[in-house]
Symmetry: none
Subunit: 404 residues, 2 copies
């Protein structure tokens, strides 16, 4: 049964504050017997774990490695299997684009075409500074196709994203448009075919985009064509306020995570700087919101690079700053990750993610530290990620009794 | 949501090997404080558990005692509540019959009938050697009814199975045929009535089978009639290769377990001998497959007999052979059971079953031994059996990331 449907009638508002800190990719695996969390110097996190409810969460399902989208949706209380985010939308959000319900977004690659066949699907991974200039040129020359306004966002290397905005409020069925990337070199690009009636308008515009881009780029040695993947609309996701009765602020320095927070209806002001800057922003805005999602990116980045010590060091740095958060005395403090990124795997993984919930209403003294092994002993157990939000709401006194 | 539907789009193939060893009925309950696994001498299993991911699995649901069919389907990654195997099919498979998608199978009992009433539903449990001769006689005299070819397989005591094979490829709706066993003595046998239009053809043939068998057996003192139960077709189960991208070999000396493996599309060569013979076969075939299901039957048999020491002894014997499996260095090794068979209960039970997964990507050092109590401390937790296959695939690097 849908968790949000269960809790929605039980929501009650009050003055409590909930702070959720996401240490991106915090879960790890041992090197010389210790995981990144065990190797890090974390006296504050460990002391907190001792007096908190601890456990582990499964982001999507056992054995399933989540991308950043499903990883965050789960801890935000949405079932990542029901709310799937298209590649185009995620790319656009990741590049900091503002995307509305009626927009269509698509991820594009620069590619090399010769005699009608794709000879390089990534235009030889052209450098970002070169591809950015090409994207600017496309933007200048393609402002509109038919009645759709076009916005281009340059990405890394051969990547960029395109947003189409229509003058009406119809939502075209963008996910029903075929990817044009043939996935193998030596093949012709596929047509951006409409797989449903409602997608035909976008299909026609997409075909014009591709041929106009080729016209503009044809003099380029490598990047003389574009391939499109993941035409998509914004998913229909109930607003955070509507779902949980929470007025929420996202504190994140990376555009993708602000985009994900925006997707569920949080406020997402632009922000740059360090984790300390994020905490200062939290302090500054503390009286204005009920719920704060604070995202700590660098833990994941070092995990992705396979840098075990670097990842542990980022965790230790966060630990030093934790007392500043505790000084705010939030009614409920949740610390967790969106998924595991074990340095030994150099990437996201399926492993359960440590979680702690600090509130006056916990058992406590089950876990001796904030780590995978110690959280395994905790009172939360191993639970699907989407159970964390109902627990946070309960600890904040924001859920009424179910049944008489 | 259906687990196979989630993982199917994520499947990626590689060169890894997964070995799954099923110690049939391995879970137990304490006698003098120790379970069979705790009483057994298992230095190798215990050392392995220390460096593996450990946990317990629930074969079907809390409190539900599985038969061998659902027990195996769960650990093979199929939802045993969705894929139900008819009694006729299971009996036919158990007796080593080859059964095709378009066949119908039914389980039969010899019974005693007098003046139209069943006076003994099991023909006084006539000895196997006597019933086998009767079954041979039925086979000789009933080769065909209408256009259906008949094959009879003798079973234990009063039991046998019948397979009907049709010249066309229509699949009759066999499960919609009424059982003829009235379940109580002193009552008349029920008609093999068709409960759906599509079952009428099989119903007519079944009625002819019953009356011809009575004609042939009428001179017998006890076994002068047959009762039928569980008319069934092969269930529609996605092939193991299609579901998981695995080329799988079943190594099992008992026909029923080969039958269950065949049902999900594993290769199931005939094999006789000891557990050591099974391991030798595993070594011999190791380069030819991706996935190996090795079944160790005797652990369960002693449990069913209520022989606690015998069951523990079979576990100890397996432990001595385990290093031979470890020498193969499979990328992922899963050791578990299909259900519990506590000797004190002399039968299958609903209790969670210990499971360990050995791979380079585990936390480890959470469980000190391979036992019910120690696996409870493990990183897998208590999970539905059908989560084991996704975990095995993930540990083998055979599942892509979900979502971007």
């Amino acid at each position: 049964m849908n968790m949000q449907a269960i809790i929605k009638p039980l929501i009650q508002k009050n003055d409590t504050k909930i702070v959720m800190i996401v240490l991106d990719g915090v879960g790890g695996l041992p090197v010389n017997g210790k995981t990144e969390l065990e190797a890090a110097n974390t006296p504050n996190l460990d002391a907190l774990a001792k007096e908190s409810a601890c456990g582990l969460h499964i982001p999507v399902a056992h054995g399933i490695t989540p991308g950043s989208g499903p990883g965050h949706l789960g801890i935000f209380g949405y079932d990542p299997l029901e709310c799937q985010i298209g590649r185009g939308i995620l790319e656009a959000l990741g590049l900091g684009m503002e995307v509305r319900k009626t927009d269509v977004a698509v991820r594009c690659n620069y590619a090399t075409i010769k005699d009608g066949l794709i000879t390089n699907r990534r235009a030889g991974r052209i450098p970002t500074d070169q591809s950015s200039k090409l994207t600017e040129r496309l933007q200048k020359e393609i402002m509109k196709i038919d009645d759709a306004e076009f916005t281009f966002a340059p990405g890394m290397e051969h990547r960029f994203a395109v947003r189409m905005r229509f003058p009406d409020n119809l939502q075209p069925d963008a996910a029903m448009i075929n990817d044009t990337d043939p996935q193998k070199e030596g093949k012709a690009p596929l047509p951006a075919a409409a797989l449903s009636k409602n997608a035909e308008r976008v299909s026609r515009i997409a075909e014009k985009l591709i041929s106009r881009a080729h016209e503009i780029l044809k003099g380029e040695e490598k990047a003389n064509f574009i391939l499109t993947r993941g035409f998509s609309n914004m998913p229909h996701i109930p607003n955070f306020d509507e779902a949980f009765g929470l007025n929420a602020l996202a504190i994140a320095t990376y555009p993708m995570y602000r985009g994900l927070a925006k997707l569920v209806g949080m406020e997402t002001p632009s922000l740059e700087g360090s984790v300390e800057d994020e905490i200062n922003f939290l302090k500054q805005k503390y009286n204005e919101y009920d719920f704060f999602f604070m995202h700590v990116k660098k833990v994941d980045s070092y995990g992705e690079d396979g840098n075990f010590e670097g990842k542990a060091e980022r965790i230790s740095e966060f630990d030093k700053l934790l007392p500043q958060v505790l000084e705010l005395k939030p009614d409920v403090l949740v610390i967790t990750g969106d998924h595991s990124t074990p340095a030994v795997m150099k990437g996201h993984s399926w492993h359960p993610v440590p979680v702690l919930i600090k509130s006056p209403y916990v058992l406590g003294r089950t876990s001796g530290a904030f780590s995978e092994r110690e959280c395994l002993k905790g009172e939360i157990g191993i639970v699907p990620a989407l159970n964390i939000m109902p627990l946070a709401l309960a600890h904040a006194g924001r859920l009424k009794k179910f049944g008489a």
